[in-house]
Symmetry: C2
Subunit: 220 residues, 2 copies
DNA sequence: TAGCTTTCTATTGTATACATGTCACTGCAA
DNA sequence: TTGCAGTGACATGTATACAATAGAAAGCTA
């Protein structure tokens, strides 16, 4: 029982959703998954319930689980919530980030400036946000952000990859946030982080609108 | 299957924790609970896993579930997180609360001023916060706050009841928050809500410190 | 007696069978 | 053709038996 079947199934399903292999609306049937994973329904069942609690699965027809769909309003709320929480973390980080972490933040910022490869930049980008998250020293808010990001990333995976045009403006925004944190300006850090998250959302929803301009009420 | 056994057990356990009937550290054994509820282990098991995810239960000796204990640091983080989220909701409410809700908020404020009974005031107090929460129009942040409040209230239930001396100052703070929201001053609403939550935490931790002044690292 | 190993038991993890509910589909009647 | 009731299948909900693990306690050895 070193590693529980239910845990690994849960992780695997998340990974598959993240990789875009499981698209929203796709059915998640206990029996079928049990056969695929070579276990009984019991651990699968637990994994599905956890997915539901993480808002990555929902109930479809006949009470069956399906990969969660998101309406545009939901998405808007999700990005707003993500932005607000990460802004709060940025504000807290500005007040109490350690000297070591401040230096790390600067280092990562420079690495980002020197980087042109979108894939590598994406990794640097997540390190940037990771430092701020841990620098805020509030594990509850940090895990709340993680949960929201899970949902955000799942949605992105199902819809499209990051737009490379965002890279340049993202760099500028990172610089602004970093300066605010380093000068311990909590209000400015909050404001800039909020618009940073918001602008990435605007780009995404923009792409989406162009992809399906005629649909009345699209569900993702 | 209209109401699932797992659901009602989950709710019941939460209620018992909230009522202070189950104190932190108390064991939650599947078999025992199953007999008490007159069901099999299966739905109990699901309820316990959900409690764990809600941070109301944790693993004790022999992997057994126990009602979650909280160290002072955890508590501090919890109150900080609660304050930050509710502040965010207050700020959003200041920007976008409907006219109807604004009037409701004023009404509730007046009711609070006219009320001397602590029990009745407690009910008015929760209505006050409820209006702000819904006025922010972000269900994700709202449910996040709900989850955190669950943990906060569970801790309070296990430790002590609300201090009646808080009543007077709470009224003043509510007035300030209301004015900020009505005048659509998001920053002020955020600031005041943050200190409102913080001050209730200060009172509580103060009482606690007096109750056990000599313990090195108390766990609740 | 300290430290290690073994055993033993309480408790959870998993498998499987059966129960139950929901929805779709069919067939009949108006 | 439309509405509705009956029926059936599919998927989850629950019960129960068995497996596995992690501590604790006992015993063994140096």
């Amino acid at each position: 029982m070193a590693i529980r079947a239910a845990d690994s199934i849960f992780e695997t399903l998340i990974d598959e959703i993240m990789a875009g292999q499981m698209v929203p609306g796709e059915p998640l049937v206990e029996q079928t998954l049990a056969e695929q994973f070579g276990v009984s329904r019991t651990p699968v069942r637990e994994a599905l319930h956890r997915l539901e609690q993480a808002c990555l699965a929902e109930r479809g027809a006949r009470r069956a689980f399906v990969v969660r769909r998101m309406a545009p309003e939901d998405l808007e709320e999700l990005f707003e919530a993500t932005g607000e929480i990460e802004s709060t973390l940025a504000a807290l980080a500005a007040k109490r980030m350690s000297e070591i972490k401040r230096r790390k933040l600067e280092t990562v910022l420079d690495e980002g400036d020197a980087c042109d490869d979108p894939a590598a930049y994406s990794e640097i980008n997540s390190r940037f946000h990771e430092i701020i998250k841990s620098g805020a020293r509030n594990s509850i808010l940090a895990s709340t952000l993680d949960e929201l990001n899970l949902r955000t990333l799942a949605w992105r995976a199902a819809n499209f990859r990051e737009d490379s045009r965002r890279l340049a403006s993202s760099r500028v925004e990172h610089r602004g946030i970093t300066q605010a944190i380093l000068s311990q300006d909590a209000a400015s850090a909050r404001r800039q982080m909020c618009s940073h998250v918001a602008s990435s959302y605007i780009v995404l929803s923009d792409i989406l609108a162009r992809r399906s301009p005629d649909r009345g009420g699209p569900e993702f």
